[in-house]
Symmetry: C2
């Protein structure tokens, strides 16, 4: 939970490097959403888990609103939680991509070592919150891969971003 001591000799990943990494993942997740048969997007699931469409909406509710929150301190949720058709998710996905690319570079680098309370409830340092957003996306997308395989759909290559 402690802040990382920042110095020129101590860089693993820069803020821009993190955004590039995240958007690479988001391009892949977009391809997984596209690969999904529309008729199964909000219905198919395994082992009592949620359909992939529900997970995709969760990702939309976490990505751009969190970037906005880290920049402005305003954690208002702007995406409704109800299931959406695949094409509507793709449209919101692309809107989020633009907003994230616009807002992220305006975040002062020092902010990433500060403690925030995301959406009024998740308290952690900003860089750890941001890492969690990617973790959560990769986690659920991995689950989406299993769903696609079970539906006999070939998912996109994991390593292509």
């Amino acid at each position: 939970m402690s802040a990382q001591p920042a110095s020129a000799e101590n860089v693993f990943l820069t803020p821009q490097g993190f955004l590039d990494h995240w958007q690479g993942h988001r391009r892949l997740t977009r391809r997984v959403i596209e690969a999904y048969p529309e008729g199964q997007f909000n219905t198919f699931a395994i082992g009592g888990m949620r359909p992939f469409g529900t997970m995709a909406v969760e990702l939309l509710r976490m990505a751009a609103p969190s970037v906005r929150g880290i920049l402005t301190g305003d954690w208002t949720q702007t995406v409704t939680a109800d299931p959406k058709p695949r094409d509507e998710v793709l449209r919101l996905w692309d809107e989020s991509t633009k907003e994230m690319n616009d807002l992220w570079p305006r975040i002062p680098a020092s902010r990433f070592q500060e403690t925030l309370k995301a959406f009024g409830q998740y308290e952690d340092t900003a860089y750890r919150l941001a890492l969690y957003l990617v973790d959560n996306e990769v986690h659920h997308r991995g689950q989406g891969y299993v769903y696609l395989r079970a539906l006999n759909v070939e998912p996109p290559h994991f390593w292509e971003r």
Copy 2:
């Protein structure tokens, strides 16, 4: 693929911050391996995918050997690819944890912005290779969650590290 310009004003994540993040994920993956019924570890799969035991061995073959490779330039593989009993995977997991904690802090920070060829074939900047190791672990662990749910086993909480 370009290196990130490193300066004190440009830190998102430090090398130690990345190791802490990775080991947090590895603790969670260890709990997923432990949660797995031994009889299903190397056999159960969905949609023609690999059993989770095979994925876990892949993770062992990527983690400590990559840290060693980034530090020393020696990319020798030290873990055999054959399926292993769950308890043997856990033993190798703990050995890897110690080795990673020992070797990682010895990597000069500048190394992470250099281009490497991991295992003689995957060429990329070192920090991107390291990020990929975590991505791959979270991806396959997410698949392991679906397998566990399909087996009626409650997986550990994703957010606990």
